[in-house]
């Protein structure tokens, strides 16, 4: 499944449209960036509530396929610029991280 395949009225793309052809092979939920850095698998869709520029840096470093920002949190402006530059898709979701994981699991089935 590709990033573009999970986009719908709930999962809306807010940055990094150049990266929507990336494959999603896993889902990972965590808000501690340093923990993500050492534990996430490449190709994951990463669910978090963090919105600052370092989420994009972590995604780049770990080769995550997209970032899903939950609870309707807004991505910082400099993070949006970086995500666009680096083609890291950032997706907004208004529900909780739990809801996002459940929805994704249904989509990926």
């Amino acid at each position: 499944m590709k990033v573009k395949d999970i986009l719908n009225s709930e999962f809306t793309l807010v940055a990094g449209s150049g990266g929507i052809e990336k494959e999603i092979s896993n889902v990972y939920v965590c808000d501690l960036l340093s923990f993500v850095m050492s534990h996430v698998k490449s190709g994951s869709a990463w669910i978090t509530i963090q919105t600052h520029v370092n989420v994009v840096a972590v995604a780049l470093m770990t080769e995550i396929s997209c970032i899903i920002i939950c609870e309707g949190e807004k991505l910082d402006e400099n993070a949006k610029v970086k995500a666009d530059e680096e083609n890291i898709p950032v997706i907004s979701f208004s529900g909780t991280s739990y809801d996002a994981a459940i929805r994704l699991s249904e989509l990926i089935k």
Binding site: L32, S34, M37, S38, Q50, N54, A57, M61
Partner: protein, 231 residues
């Protein structure tokens, strides 16, 4: 006596700081701005502190040896030491507890260790922008008697004790918190400001961001500033 300060400055060792944050540039800029006392607080490492400490002596500005620790909870705590050697050995303990993740320079930036002439003498390979192996409580215990631990930028939404924990825990040697320099202290009656002293440093990653001669700490002498922060 009023000591005009900036106690939160990153050198080129911090990956997110400009490479222009060299020992001489930092010290000279602080002198130009008319500051009396500064602190170098790099992420999870004190490897540039000693050289800047020596340099500041020769330029007539005071330096408090420091480090900005990122705890297990992903909270930034500024640690200020009475003694430079305590700072260096504490820096080693923190550094050793970091996970071995290699820095990717093109993403996070370079981590440069420099000498007193601003020459690059080494490049730190381990990523410093991650969490150490110690909790907030561990750090405050480790700092007891050695200096002051001050939660950094408590008004921010990331890497802050309030954003990550939701509150400031009751720790006996937690007396002072840092707020961002663009935060308006006057007139704000947040709970933490009723219970804690506040300082306002720049968290400078670029030379121009270093504090102007605005914020001061009132103490008898320079030696008592760290005491003031933790009492």
């Amino acid at each position: 006596m009023k000591f005009y300060y900036d106690l939160h400055i990153h050198s080129a060792l911090s990956p997110c700081a400009d490479n222009e944050m060299t020992p001489n540039n930092i010290v000279n800029m602080a002198v130009l701005k008319g500051l009396d006392v500064i602190s170098i607080t790099d992420h999870n490492s004190a490897k540039n502190v000693e050289v800047i400490y020596e340099l500041s002596k020769s330029k007539g500005i005071k330096l408090i040896p420091g480090i900005e620790v990122q705890t297990k909870e992903e909270v930034h705590i500024l640690c200020y030491f009475f003694d430079i050697f305590d700072c260096i050995s504490f820096g080693k303990i923190i550094y050793d507890s970091l996970e071995c993740i290699k820095n990717n320079k093109s993403i996070f930036g370079e981590q440069l260790i420099m000498d007193e002439d601003d020459n690059i003498i080494a490049e730190e390979e381990k990523l410093l922008l991650t969490s150490c192996g110690y909790s907030i409580n561990d750090i405050f215990k480790m700092m007891d008697g050695k200096g002051a631990a001050v939660p950094a930028h408590v008004d921010r939404t990331s890497y802050s004790i309030i954003s990550n924990l939701g509150f400031i825990p009751n720790i006996s040697n937690l007396k002072t918190v840092e707020v961002s320099s663009d935060f308006s202290i006057v007139g704000n009656t947040s709970e933490y400001q009723k219970k804690h002293k506040t300082i306002s440093s720049s968290d400078a990653h670029r030379l121009g961001d270093i504090n102007e001669r605005i914020h001061y700490i009132e103490c008898n002498d320079f030696e008592s500033i760290v005491e003031w922060l933790c009492s």
